[in-house]
Amino acid sequence: MSTAQSLHQSRKRKNAVMMTLCVTAAGIGLAWLALILGALLYKGLSGVSPAVFTEMTPPPGDAGGLLNAIYGSIIMTIIGIVVGTPIGVLAGTYMAEYGRFSRLTTIVRFINDILLSAPSIIIGLFVYELLVRPMGHFSAIAGAVALSILVIPVVVRTTEDMLNLVPNALREAGTAIGAPRWVVIRSVAYRAALSGIVTGILLAIARISGETAPLLFTALNNQFWSSNLNAPMASLPVTIFQFALSPYEEWQQLAWTGALIITLTVLGLSIIARSLTGRREDR
């Protein structure tokens, strides 16, 4: 009896120890998030001023802003999304609608998942070989193409997942009243999956707006205002990279402020995206 009791005690103790460790692990995860956001707010907020949004990136040792970098990031992100989204949505449509049971879909899903987590610097090298080397110079177009390649797998994945959630009865109802397949897809499936597809696009924007590695040797950087897509263009992440590693205090402060802007944008986009799908689940 006493051995049984002590066994019971030791099992309970072991359970308590392991469960405490699990709670600690969760605490560590949350603490890290808090530490990073805290440092960002602390170091970044002190540099936020109207000048950040109205002045160009300064030469070393001068005060200035991030206007051209913000502009470049927005332009390249928009082009990346505009190019990547239709391709991603169409490919996802094929996988969920026309080719749901085809062999091609299985292969594309596998390859797409690999592209989804492939190192982004590899995409940068690819676009360098594809565009920068033949053109002979760095350009905003090359940067935007690199970003669009990162957009495609994200959008493909969410579009396919969301279309697969649309009940088949809806499609059958459309087909039964004589609508051809593409009308059913456009007016029934897309409409039912709209919020999910928009979520995918928002997540893609969140992903590429913070990407640095694929821009390093495609769009390069530019210290001045440039709206020429065929020339190097500044972007927020690359500017942060350059300024943070510099010895100048003004540059480092701008890097922190830029980091805060990017993080708030990305977190805001992910939270909006999540609340879109969250509503879907509740319904």
């Binding site: 359970n15 707006s209 942060i240 990279f241």
Partner: protein, 328 residues
């Protein structure tokens, strides 16, 4: 009268046929467009592979197999070897995974077994938000906040703690730079943690409730249910999540570039600066002059591509296996 209605019927038939033909045509166009887009995804990956092989041809044909086994990286004499970056990549990723896996599984157990229901979703989201933070943010935080902290407090302590113990003393040999292999590993661990956590939590959710309940029914503790039922049932899925995290860690660029120190040498100490494949490319590519230098950097990219492709393919294969089991 009949002639008129016949004419009307036949013209109605004609417009009907024309409409059906038009529908069929648009449907074919749309179908082809979606199919081509799907094929484009394959073409993209193929294009990446081909362009990397083409770009690295010059370096690989000059150095051959010794590219993989040479430590020297000298742009002046144009003698390049990939051993130091490969070593740095593997060591930092391995340590990161060793740290992140227990913590990630711990958080997943907490979220599925212990966490009060109302808190479950917010905490899960918070951990996933960690995954959304761009890597450059981890880099700047690592360089300005984390590395100085390690340099002034943790590293001197560890160095004095292991001083004189054979093996450990050379593994943690000074001086404490703050930046280096161990700092990069810790940052990588933070970065892959959310991936491992969210996948582990997802596969934990696939365990049939009746399995866990029958274990609880014969008097198992929560830990015993997790250890004897949940983890064995989801082993393949957890491995898939770990491999996915490993793939991320191997290819991570910006965060590592900030804190690794960029030194092309292999040293026994984890406190010493080193380099990784992606950090070398990010640092040197725009400054590389000479075709051989550029080509050597692209070769590094090709090596990284092959390693991550294999790891990610294994990860997907494992996750597919657990998917097919729950689907059945």
């Amino acid at each position: 009268m009949t002639a008129v209605s016949e004419a009307a019927t036949s013209s109605a038939m004609r417009t009907r046929e024309a409409t059906v033909r038009r529908f069929a045509l648009t449907d074919m166009v749309f179908r082809t467009a979606t199919r081509l887009s799907a094929i484009l995804v394959l073409v993209l990956l193929g294009g990446v592979a081909i362009s990397l092989i083409a770009g690295s041809w010059e370096a690989l044909s000059k150095f051959g197999f010794s590219f993989l086994t040479t430590e020297s990286w000298n742009p002046v004499t144009e003698n390049f070897g990939a051993l130091a970056p490969i070593y740095g990549t593997i060591v930092t990723s391995a340590i990161a995974i060793l740290i992140a896996v227990p913590i990630g599984i711990g958080i997943a157990i907490f979220l599925t077994e212990l966490c009060p229901r109302p808190l479950r979703r917010p905490i899960g989201i918070a951990v996933e938000l960690l995954a959304g933070i761009p890597s450059i943010i981890y880099g700047i935080w690592g360089l300005f906040v984390f590395a100085p902290f390690l340099q002034t407090t943790v590293q001197p302590f560890i160095i004095s703690l292991f001083h004189g113990i054979p093996g450990l003393s050379s593994l943690f040999a000074g001086p404490p730079y703050g930046i280096g292999l161990l700092t990069s590993s810790l940052i990588l661990a933070i970065m892959v943690l959310p991936f491992i956590t969210s996948i582990t939590k997802d596969v934990f959710d696939t365990v049939p409730a009746v399995l866990k309940e029958s274990a609880y029914g014969i008097g198992c503790t929560t830990w015993e249910v997790t250890r004897r039922v949940t983890i064995p049932y989801t082993r393949v899925g957890i491995m898939g999540g770990v491999m996915l995290g490993l793939g991320r860690a191997l290819g991570e660029t910006m965060a590592v570039t900030f804190v690794i120190g960029n030194a092309h040498r292999i040293s026994a100490s984890l406190f010493a600066p080193g380099t990784t494949i992606s950090a070398t490319i990010a640092n040197e590519f725009t400054e590389a002059d000479g075709n051989l230098y550029t080509s050597s950097l692209v070769s590094l990219g090709l090596i990284l591509f092959i390693i991550t492709f294999i790891i990610l393919a294994l990860a997907r294969y494992m996750l597919l296996r657990i998917d097919s089991r729950t689907g059945a």
